[in-house]
Structure formats: C-alpha cells, structure tokens
C-alpha cells in the first residue's frame, strides 16, 4: 500500500529534519520569526499593485536565500501549491468582467481577470516563501514555546506539542499497518473492498492512537504531570531580532506607502 501514500507528500520527519539549514537567520528569536512572517503576510495580502507584489516576492526570495532553504525541496513545495491553485487562476481571466484581452473560442479573457490571477499567484508565492524561510526552519517544540510566549492559550499549545510529538510515532504505526496489509496481498484499486479495507485501517489507527494516549497519560501522571509544561529555556530578543524587525518594518512600510500613494489599482 506504499503507493497509497503520495511519495511527493511532505514527510513528517521533515518537522525535525528541517532544523538543519537556517543560514543567516539562525540567530533570530523564534517569536521574531513568527511575528515577522505574520506581518509580512498581512501586508502582502493587502497589496494590490503587481509591481509591489513582485517586490514583495523578491523580498521573500531574499529571505529564502538568507535562510538557505534547500532548493529542490522548496521548489517542489512551491510547485505543489501552484499546481493546486492553477485551475482557479486559469479560470479567473475568463470569468472576470472587464476590458477584453484575447478570445479563446467562446470565451474572452479580460485584462482585469489576468491582473487578479497574477495578484493571487504573486501573493501566495511570496507569503509561502517568507513563511518557509522564517518559520519553516524552526523545530516544532521551539515553535510551541514561542507561540506560548506570544500568548496562545496553553491548552492549544499543549495540543500542538502532543500532535507534533506523536505525528511521527503514528506515521510509523500506520507504516507498519501498511506493510502488514501489503504482506497479505492488499492492492488498492477502485473497488468497495479497497475502501472498506482502508476504512478499517483508519479506524484501527484511531483506536491504537487512543490506546497509546491512555498509556502516555498514565506515564505522565506517574511522573507527576499536573497539566503544565515547565519551561526552562528563556527566549531572548537580541540584536539580530532588532535588526530584522527594523529592516522588515522599513521595507513593509515602504511597500504600504507606495501602494497608498499611487492609489489602488482597481
């Protein structure tokens, strides 16, 4: 059943392995990264002019280079997302009313529609690259810690930590189940048997996960867990953070000011 899992699908072990390359962004505080990615996303989503969006994409590319994102894996992810929205983007020029640009059989593409499609494509790619560059390199435990410091409710942070901690365990568990199914000669196809077998496997995965969680809870209680993770690592907002905050604020402010100055393109 290995062929049931898309080989291009992101591997969960990436959550841990992506820690490797962080390049020049390594010294940044995780809170700075999260806030920077958030601000970048908010500003870029608000931009309308294609030239400014292109500038934002360049900025994101620069961040990606600084973070030394692995080229192949990043390209694969960007292309996976682009392929995903492609059909919507191709439709847009033909469904938006406006100045006709060219005619393709019975349908006419408009300038406004094309602009809008480009707008979405640039925005989505810029935000994605910036997020991967700034936050993608963090390990998930640090992410949870930083989110807690940014006032995310503790129960949600704990849920995140548990999910991250056990995603790989559950993935391996499911891998073992798939191996067992393959060993019994299961070949997925387009039939009821496939769906029933897969459904049973998914149900079993839930059962095993719940039973594991019971053991985990007992073990944690035995060790005196009362519902709080104690944090002994302090996060520090230092010079590199101030530098990035300053640079990014200035660049984003310029983008916003130019946008306001020139007026919305629509």
């Amino acid at each position: 059943m290995g062929h049931c899992t898309d080989p291009a699908a992101p591997s969960l072990s990436g959550l841990e392995a992506s820690r490797a390359g962080m390049g020049a962004l390594r010294p940044l505080d995780p809170r700075t990264r999260i806030l920077a990615a958030g601000c970048f996303a908010l500003v870029v989503v608000g931009l309308d002019r294609l030239a400014l969006l292109a500038a934002a994409l360049l900025l994101a590319l620069l961040l990606a280079v600084l973070a030394r994102l692995p080229l192949r894996r990043t390209l694969k992810r960007v292309m996976a997302m682009d392929a995903f929205v492609l059909f919507m983007l191709i439709l847009l020029p033909f469904t938006t009313p406006g100045t006709p640009l060219f005619t393709l059989g019975p349908v006419t593409a408009t300038e406004e529609g094309l602009r809008w499609a480009l707008d979405i494509a640039l925005t989505a790619n810029a935000v994605m690259l910036a997020v991967l560059a700034l936050v993608g390199g963090l390990d998930a435990v640090t992410l949870g810690h930083a989110l807690h410091r940014l006032r995310m409710p503790e129960s949600i942070v704990q849920l995140l930590q548990f999910t991250v901690r056990y995603v790989e365990v559950v993935e391996r568990e499911f891998g073992r189940m798939r191996t067992a199914m393959r060993a019994r000669g299961f070949v997925p196809g387009n039939d009821l048997h496939t769906y029933r077998t897969l459904g049973y496997a998914l149900g079993m995965l839930l059962v095993r996960s719940l039973e594991r969680s019971e053991r985990v809870l007992y073990a944690m209680k035995c060790r005196g867990f009362v519902g709080r993770f104690h944090v002994i690592v302090e996060l520090r907002f230092g010079m590199p953070d101030a530098l990035l905050a300053l640079l990014l604020s200035v660049l984003l402010a310029v983008l916003v000011l130019v946008e306001i100055r020139l007026g919305s393109a629509h």
Binding site: T123, L132, I156, Q158, V167, F174, T194, L210
Partner: protein, 215 residues
C-alpha cells in the same frame, strides 16, 4: 481543499478568522489534563491520515476525514484541525497564513455539525444503522466543506463563482469515498474501542483487555 493567501476579500478573511477563533476557544474548553493527550494523538492520527492518497478513477485524492474527526472529537475538532493546518502552513507551505482561520472554519465547522448530528446514530445498538450514520457523517462533512469553500470564494468575488462550482463538483467523488471509509471505520471502532464515540466499553472488550493484561 486549501485556499491560498491573496484570493479572498478582507471581510471574508476577518469574518472567517473570528468565527474560527470562537470555535477554537469553544473547543479548548473541552481540553483538560485528561483530554489533551488523547486529543493530541488523535489530531496526529488525522494529520497522518490526511496524507493518505486513495485511488479514484485514474487519479487519487488525499483524505480530509473531518466527518470522522467530528464523531470522535466533537468541539475539540476545532483546535485539533487548526493545529494540523497550522503545522501544514508553517512547515510545508501548504495553505496560506492569512487564510488559516477560513481554512480551519471550512474544515472544522462541518466536523462539529456532523458530530452533533450523527453521533447518536453512530452509537445506535444496531451495527448496520451505525455504519449507515457513519457513512452519512463522512459524506456530509465533505459536502459541507465543499459548500463552505465555494461560498467563501463566491463571497470574495463574482468572478470566483465558476471556480466555486467546480470545487463542489470535484468533491462529489471525494464525498462518496469518505462516506464509505467512514462507515467502515465506524464499524471497526465500535467493535474494538467504542469509547472513541463516547460509548461505554463493551463488556467482552473489557474481558479481552483484562486477558491481555494478565498475559
């Protein structure tokens, strides 16, 4: 289906984010020391399951399983599915950052609705009836998700309406498959671990587990 950054209008983004936040807060009320480990592990399981590709015609689709999540997690579906989407957005760049709220709402609200609607049926004494309700839950959750994604797109601009219609049509086969999978999963879970649906543990199952402990 995930929506990317840049496609939706500001009112839709803000409204979706606020509603999602309300759902997450409501779900977090059910999270306590006893529930967090199980919610976390189930959230991990749904994350892993969503990476499974199921053959459909010449192609394959990846699962969402929000119906099953609603049956098992109830309101906790909101924080659990939010965590999954957050991890996908931050580490894999899948789905956007500003649309996180809308995406959470699109997937978790149907889960909660289906959970409230179909849970009594899934707990029914009749196994066939329970499987039927499981199938309804799986299919209905996908249908609602597709409709919400379509609505969110259509609200953001009339130009999206054809794309919105395509989203709904594209989800019809997914709906059928998730319905079948969910029915099968419900059948198995009822036999092995009915507690997952909040049912009292089966006497014979308890006997089995006692035997397991002794051995």
């Amino acid at each position: 289906m995930h929506i990317v950054d840049g496609a939706l209008s500001a009112p839709v983004l803000v409204g979706g984010t606020l509603l999602a936040a309300a759902g997450i807060v409501r779900g977090a009320r059910d999270l306590n020391l006893e529930r967090i480990p199980s919610a976390g592990l189930l959230s991990a399981a749904f994350f892993v399951a969503s990476l499974v590709h199921v053959p459909i015609g010449p192609s394959s689709v990846h699962l969402i399983l929000n119906g099953l999540a609603g049956l098992v997690l109830g309101w906790i579906s909101f924080p659990a599915l939010f965590v999954g989407l957050l991890l996908q957005a931050l580490f894999f760049g899948f789905g956007g950052l500003t649309v996180l709220g809308v995406n959470t709402l699109d997937i978790a609200l149907p889960a909660v609705i289906v959970g409230l609607l179909c849970r009594p049926g899934v707990r029914s004494a009749n196994a066939a009836l329970a499987a039927f309700w499981g199938g309804i839950a799986g299919a209905l959750a996908i249908a609602l998700t597709a409709l919400m994604v379509a609505a969110v797109l259509a609200l953001s601009g009339d130009a999206f309406i054809p794309a919105a219609k395509l989203v709904v049509i594209a989800h019809v086969p997914v709906m059928l498959i998730e319905g079948l999978l969910c029915a099968a999963a419900v059948t198995l879970v009822r036999k092995v671990k009915p507690e997952l649906f909040g049912m009292p543990a089966d006497a014979s199952a308890v006997g089995l587990r006692a035997a397991e402990v002794r051995s």
